[in-house]
Point group: C2
Chain length 394, copies 2
Amino acid sequence: MTEAVSRPTLEAVAARAGVSRATVSRVVNGGDGVRAPLAERVRQAVAELGYVPNQAARSLVTKRHDAVAVVIAEPETRVFADPFFALQLRGISKELTAHDNQLVLLLTEGRDDHARVARYLSGGHVDGALVFSLHLDDPLPGLIQDAGVPTVFGGRPGWGDEGRGAGPARPTAKDPGVVYVDCDNRGGARAAVRHLMGLGRTRIAHLTGVLDQTSAVDRLDGYRDVMGEVPGGNDPRLVVESDFTPAGGERAMRELLDRCPDVDAVFAANDLTALGALRVLRASGRRVPDDVAVIGFDDMLPVAEEADPPLTTVRQDIEGMGRLMARLLLRGLSDGRDRTDDRDRPDGRGTTDGCDRTDARGRTDGLDRTGSAVDEPHAGGVILPTTLIRRVSA
Amino acid sequence: MTEAVSRPTLEAVAARAGVSRATVSRVVNGGDGVRAPLAERVRQAVAELGYVPNQAARSLVTKRHDAVAVVIAEPETRVFADPFFALQLRGISKELTAHDNQLVLLLTEGRDDHARVARYLSGGHVDGALVFSLHLDDPLPGLIQDAGVPTVFGGRPGWGDEGRGAGPARPTAKDPGVVYVDCDNRGGARAAVRHLMGLGRTRIAHLTGVLDQTSAVDRLDGYRDVMGEVPGGNDPRLVVESDFTPAGGERAMRELLDRCPDVDAVFAANDLTALGALRVLRASGRRVPDDVAVIGFDDMLPVAEEADPPLTTVRQDIEGMGRLMARLLLRGLSDGRDRTDDRDRPDGRGTTDGCDRTDARGRTDGLDRTGSAVDEPHAGGVILPTTLIRRVSA
DNA sequence: GTGAAAGCGCTAACAA
DNA sequence: TTGTTAGCGCTTTCAC
């Protein structure tokens, strides 16, 4: 392991180019107001010396870090069981890189880590935070809000869902300052159920996810939206609580077959649950999709594609979510300063502005919230669309 | 998105405690040589003010950053297709956190990013780097070596495998300074094949991984180690090249059945490949394991466990690999300075030293290298053991 | 054992 | 347009 060596400083570059440190600094930071030939000489010197600015020194005076923390609350091992996390991170990374920001990854393993993370964020080491936390009663988001760091949440925070999560709703729930990005869980669920109806199915069941996560709640709500419209759709026996795992899917499917042997379609809260359901259906002698159609959620490869039969599912643009989160945070950060959004780095690596590639629709397309006590939508919620992917199972 | 506020400085703490900045600094950094009561007063002030040291200011003078970069060469989308990456990261994160280091994540998307990463690492923003790059001809590891940053590689670098990868071996291949951590791919493969033999199988095939990755090469070598010992084991038709994917596994399995209809066991280079093989075997009317036994590699959940039938496979301690990489890097870093390894942070959060929990065996337990021209083992290679997980398929 | 003072490398007023 | 100067918040000699 080679030892690091000392790097040339601004001073060295200035000397070499025969100018003052201030001039070098100007050139390095965009070169506004430096006459071309001089700037050229400086750039020359920079190249020759292989000068790279010392970020610590820079941060010390600018109070900026060009770094963003990504916080992932770890009890969410679900996050580790599928590529979700990795894709999200990839999207975030791309966007941050395009804006010359670094990604500081903070993984938490429980309460002890909460304090650590809060301390780190309060410590002013990063300009902002991207926070993933799926559970309604997770204290981490609250701590982070209190840390006073600009933050964008991944997934709709559940603070406003009174009567659903454990404990009272956080006062911050209606805070217009709360910004989050999520996929259209509810709309995707509706699309899935409508598709099953379009297939002529009438006894359509739902195997839910863990109901202390907003994604599970929203998918259930989407299911109910559609089922509520048809006679007999409100049969409570058709909804079985599960937990986003294959084992849970098996359990739930067995229970479902007990309750409703006449079921002819299943909408599973995610692909893993569907996997378990498929196995039980096969064991029960039912054919998929002939006897029972099955739809999953997530399009989690290779699970969905490699299932037997390949799973029809609802795809979300996971990478796009990550990208959008980063973009929103960065935009918020630059708004907070006096630089405008499009004042990108001089190397012209800025991306196109806006949500052009993400089809952000804002809000939840006219629908009111999930029957909770929250009347106003979360001011900063951005919902990305989902797509139904048809394979064999439905 | 709340705006960040200004934090209390050392100065403020000093004023509050009625001491000099220097004293506060000493207390904050371990408190050696400060009388107890004074130190207590300082700690009090720190707590009251919620003081957190400004890392930028500290780095500026210490030239340390307490930050480590994790570089993941992205063309390795395999890394994104399974939880491998996430687990590795978790191990790394735990270890870094225990030593109060931050994790800066650098994902690359191709050549353009190489320069960016090299620049960042050379820029002295981090104390060291953990680098993942699976392909033999990836230029990134070379660039990183040149950047002069202490580095530990994830997975055995292939630079020394002459005649295998594209291009000549890098001169650094035998550099005793090269440090890497890998699982015992070769030993795991041997265990798998021996297990199949123990089952009385005689026509044991191998579906390889992408052979420009050392993990695939090593697994193939392990297979050959064992097969070479028995008569007829060298039948080249029993080895089919594949690519670590289910689709590749299908292709390879079909080809294998064409070539050797009498095959009675398959060792697949990973679980995904095994998945494809299982499907083809089923389609061909063969029963698993009765007619053909199948073993995978990685114990990639949920793939292996949820396969039909559940897959016997070789498990590696992925999280342990990550942890060990971080530990080795951190140790190297502290060796490079004048502080000894066990001079941990004052809050007593240091972990136990050594590789106690990882069972590092060092080297490759007496076996010579993979038939390549490299006679001396890579000085810094640490190989973690693997475990055979018996499920139904073999 | 404690404090005073000198920078670390950079940016941002302000002068020229 | 360019240079000069004063710190940013911290650690670290060096006196006391």
